[in-house]
Symmetry: D2
Subunit: 420 residues, 4 copies
Amino acid sequence: MLGNLFPLDSSKPFTDQEKIGHNRYHPEIPPVATVKPGDSFRVDSREWFDGDIKNDDSADDILNAPMKKVHGLSGPFRIEGAQPGDLLIVDILDVGPIPQEQGPLAGQGWGYTGIFAKSNGGSFLVEQFPDAYKAVWDFHGPWATSRHIPGVKFEGLIHPGIMATAPSAELLAKWNAREAALIATDPDRVPPLALPPEPEESVLGSVPQADRERIGAEAARTAPPRENGGNQDIKNLTKGTRAFYPVFVEGANFSIGDLHFSQGDGEITFCGGIEMGGYMELHVDVIKNGMELYGVSENAIFMPGRQDPQFSEWIAFSGTSVTLDGEQRYLDSHLSYQRAILHAIDYLATFGYSPEQAYLLLGAAPVEGRLSSVVDIPNSCSTVYIPTAIFDFDIRPSADGPHQIDPGIGAPKAADPVYG
Amino acid sequence: MLGNLFPLDSSKPFTDQEKIGHNRYHPEIPPVATVKPGDSFRVDSREWFDGDIKNDDSADDILNAPMKKVHGLSGPFRIEGAQPGDLLIVDILDVGPIPQEQGPLAGQGWGYTGIFAKSNGGSFLVEQFPDAYKAVWDFHGPWATSRHIPGVKFEGLIHPGIMATAPSAELLAKWNAREAALIATDPDRVPPLALPPEPEESVLGSVPQADRERIGAEAARTAPPRENGGNQDIKNLTKGTRAFYPVFVEGANFSIGDLHFSQGDGEITFCGGIEMGGYMELHVDVIKNGMELYGVSENAIFMPGRQDPQFSEWIAFSGTSVTLDGEQRYLDSHLSYQRAILHAIDYLATFGYSPEQAYLLLGAAPVEGRLSSVVDIPNSCSTVYIPTAIFDFDIRPSADGPHQIDPGIGAPKAADPVYG
Amino acid sequence: MLGNLFPLDSSKPFTDQEKIGHNRYHPEIPPVATVKPGDSFRVDSREWFDGDIKNDDSADDILNAPMKKVHGLSGPFRIEGAQPGDLLIVDILDVGPIPQEQGPLAGQGWGYTGIFAKSNGGSFLVEQFPDAYKAVWDFHGPWATSRHIPGVKFEGLIHPGIMATAPSAELLAKWNAREAALIATDPDRVPPLALPPEPEESVLGSVPQADRERIGAEAARTAPPRENGGNQDIKNLTKGTRAFYPVFVEGANFSIGDLHFSQGDGEITFCGGIEMGGYMELHVDVIKNGMELYGVSENAIFMPGRQDPQFSEWIAFSGTSVTLDGEQRYLDSHLSYQRAILHAIDYLATFGYSPEQAYLLLGAAPVEGRLSSVVDIPNSCSTVYIPTAIFDFDIRPSADGPHQIDPGIGAPKAADPVYG
Amino acid sequence: MLGNLFPLDSSKPFTDQEKIGHNRYHPEIPPVATVKPGDSFRVDSREWFDGDIKNDDSADDILNAPMKKVHGLSGPFRIEGAQPGDLLIVDILDVGPIPQEQGPLAGQGWGYTGIFAKSNGGSFLVEQFPDAYKAVWDFHGPWATSRHIPGVKFEGLIHPGIMATAPSAELLAKWNAREAALIATDPDRVPPLALPPEPEESVLGSVPQADRERIGAEAARTAPPRENGGNQDIKNLTKGTRAFYPVFVEGANFSIGDLHFSQGDGEITFCGGIEMGGYMELHVDVIKNGMELYGVSENAIFMPGRQDPQFSEWIAFSGTSVTLDGEQRYLDSHLSYQRAILHAIDYLATFGYSPEQAYLLLGAAPVEGRLSSVVDIPNSCSTVYIPTAIFDFDIRPSADGPHQIDPGIGAPKAADPVYG
């Protein structure tokens, strides 16, 4: 174990740290450290809004979340000898929150889930939920609870939202071209179709001053997952996972960030999962020429860890690709998952949750989202599975009707939008 | 247990049986039997092509599969006292294949998976796989193996592709209207966008002769899942499952069919999963006014059984919503799942499988498909998880490169298309 | 699949069937059929008391259970080519109850659990529970419930109590010698220390009349597990299991019997688990010289199936090797498991169960018994784990105290002992 | 979270720390800290031999292990308001190794497993393994590997061997009386039947000097589990576990120690599991009058965490209560577990492991030991289950015979005994 190669001081912003990470992808961002195949090392990670979201009962910070700043990534780490065409092996030795140093949560951590407002990012169900909301989660050992969503407690599935290798110049150019073409189809859309390069608020590690303007204008935003892995938000990349990433530049230039204490499949509220600052311990290795050997052109392959919390009873909801207005779409799995989620929210609401509480819960808890049927023309069928054990009351349907909970103070809503 | 309320003779076609089922949905199809809340009963089920697909080494039957005949459903069963607005509880007490009576598989069963040709239905990856292929699976107790796909053996996830209540007249009219509107956007598309009512080959149970023409012209096809459940192809509806269906007509008029010995999430080859004839044992009950009590407007809710085969190691592939041609789409989870599946096929091919063998395997084996990220504009991220234990060789990536299997006789391909 | 090689008519006793099995072990009992390595076949099995225990509310049949008749085994099956020193591979393709043909349980089955009286066998806690009790269990698909033990419902772990190869003459002689030596240490003990050969009520298959007296006087009783497997009562020998048995005679001469719908580890009530008649489907093969190759001298090796019901929450009790009277014993794991079970009974009793209901439940439900610590002189520590999901109320400790159930009619107790 | 209430400096012995713990049980040992019901706190823990066992290739330290020093426990912690008759709730928020500060394992930890020599403690199979051996395990994130046992790698089941409340004076007197009576039956036995109070090397926290002699002569040794929990060595007390302990003195006076990175059921080698120094984070609460409310007179109740590593394939061995010499014992589950373990060792040896390597592995890896049958007179049947996934080669029996590993340097053996 080489020790902490990317230490962060929780009291300082991302740009004032001893080592400066990056929040854009570009092949010319220099490594912060070099490791060898077979090495293990520790890395700290900032929460994705770099501390701007507070542990309080207001969602104004979610409404005004600084989207241009995300995601502050730790790295890049150069792996000696890795070359384009190789597969980078990454074993997740550990991943966890950084404990608070003082206050009532001293020794433990906290995180949050937000519903992004339509005016600032939007979410999976932006039409039904156009306003900003927030829920704060407290961590107690393996468990999370929230004063904003009573009646639930669950073990975390701690994982990085982002692990990524650096793109080559050719790959970056391809990204910029195809995303620009998409944006051009509806450039004024709210929320936007995609995010173009944005020099403002860009953090580019130790890129020399002379190159910053150029690189800031070329470098890709970190929101989408792409060929290099990136913001895949795969909730199963937990401790014990072995992942394989394509290498596009000499040294691989691997980075991580956007840690979550837990997340439901889809990260549906966008400011989703349970966002937190934390740390990872990683072991790296290389399969020479692995991309050709194993037919890998892009995206991560992974073998999930075997210590995710086990649940043996689930309640599941299904949806099809018909819009809420009754329009039939053709095999639209995105829509069918939206409908399944909406059905789950309707169901949870009969127990006394507000729709926003239910939505935030489904974004944060270890729920599974599955593509159950993708061929039964014209309807795709998607399903969402909620573990019943996360509730401290009986969530199953019965002739008695739903048990009524006390929704408590509820999930705070932001004041009227002021952003943009 | 009331005994077998829908016995089938495996030597006779669906239309020559003692009790006649149905292959269309319509509120006027009379029940074949009435049961009470709390009753248990057994039902036989025909394989979805009613015996037209043979246990041989040719895929011509897949190419010419009689799409107008599907799905031969067992039922409807009227549940006494069930009324519109109730929730029908269905417990799956058992589901299994009907053993062969003679021949080498006597006492066991078999099934098949097909890739539909573009000219006759198409599949999830119709552009990459336009031709018809078939794989035959033999059942050995809990396991399936195939002479067409060597090196794999897995426990079945036996389940019904279809469980459904009858639509009301209003609901049926809504279906027909919205599907017709979709078809009208591209009426000559191959494969079609949706299937309109089709009197030809319709089987309508004991509908009186005088009404058959009218009802055949109104009745909905069974391919898509809809508000009444239907062809959801949810692989987790296994023994021990409790499902809840909305009731739209007096008596609920519940039917089942399209049994699968196993299936991967998505039933990606369309003629998918492992299709088989079989039986179910069901227990039914009713939650009065359950739709309002639990906020259920449509689609099934379910609690999966706890006896699905357990796997503790998976290899997973991810995809994003960029087309193979490099075009960026906006949060298209259908596309990102296609890309994940294509990555898995590329991977499996390096071990010596043909792409078609790999595709058929992913359609039939207990693979999981997940909507991992649905908000990271503009890319959705979907993932597919394959249990490593189904292979009799080491499927994991290593520096040694992929172990080379003997692909055997391969999956048979159909002769040139003659259908249509 | 060779079909049913050992069909039983449920309306007739074991000795009046088409093929006659055996209830003693002896190398000279002829096979009922010969199969080849690689063959699959079906076998019926009688419930261990051959129908003497009734589905009623009296435990008199348990009190008077005919111990000399047990266990009616199906077989032996000769495996062609198997020779002493080989390992016999047995795959459990299926195992299940034989459905009732008529009455309220038509199409389903039932079984029972009994506490043996001290005067007729006794049980694990014979000093605390000297009297005979019974609970009848109804099967509903995968689940069992009992009118004698309300508030619980669980999925079965269907398995054979007995699978066994035939002993060689030498091995049989060894058994008889060592068991006689044990009996001789306290020949009048109640319950007995062991059961010597017993010609009365012996069933010896097709042994010629002339040999019956001799063989009946030599043949080993089936109660204990021994080098040949036998009555191991391992609850995890469920569908999908592969087991390996040492071969001691030419042909292996393999038999099965004593099927259970479910059982807790230990089969603690002796007339334990949920006893039932049923069937098995088996696949057999041989590893030549496998005993030497793999260092196997005796007893079964097995790889359990992967479809046992999954539970993710358990409540567990521990015990140590101190007697109820406070005497310290030395590393006595049998005693520490007794104490753990007694603690569990005490606990369940606070919810309203009678001690006998609790004891019967722990014998029948899928509870796990573990040897947690066997070295911490002088106390062994054993633990018993009960899945919380089998109760329809909350079984966990809380500040509210135990929920009080209605114990219903309770578990019937036998009248005063009349046996012996 | 109250912070670390029992910090330890890894460079100093147990008796030179800032807070002094205890290695004997006595009601008069004063608490090191007081917490309230509902509090959470952190505790460090010394490895059970206080650093005397080295990370080297000699087992001399195991041979000479200082048995009188064990176990150095952290605590007692007084829980305000807890009174005799209450149940103490202990939630395990976290438990882990303390990382090394420098050297090749910096940032990770290590541990060891030893076979105790007959002359110094002995083990479960002391007659077969009379000599001292050692294996050192390195920790890599969730995994352990050993240079002394090649070919295996497994996720840890990190847990405390000991959690205990303090005995009352009456309870302590009872322990001393019954254990003395046992010792008196064979006072010179090697290894001893039990360990009497031993003032030498006793550590009694802040007991006043004037009381030390008396208390040292009365206080109970920590080796055995007893009514207060204690050295139960239950491998399932992992993160996320909720345990319940009887309270015998005002304040409960709760202590912990003897942390293991992993352990097989039974801790069969005695110096067993993977011993390590580490830390725990605990949350405590109280159920007033819980002992009576829930019928708890003694020993821990617990609900294991749901994040233990999941394995879906096991190879299992069975044993019965016949001695190696062929003597029949009566329902001796201790013996039947010994025989099952010996069978497993014989099996593993055919792959190339030395018997000592196999024995150490079964003591350290997450193997399950079950009391499968405890009533089938005269033979008890115990079983041991090994997860196949811990081996990097195929451990299953096949016609090919066992794969031969390179046993490497093997497990070091101690020089001739010098102790005692």
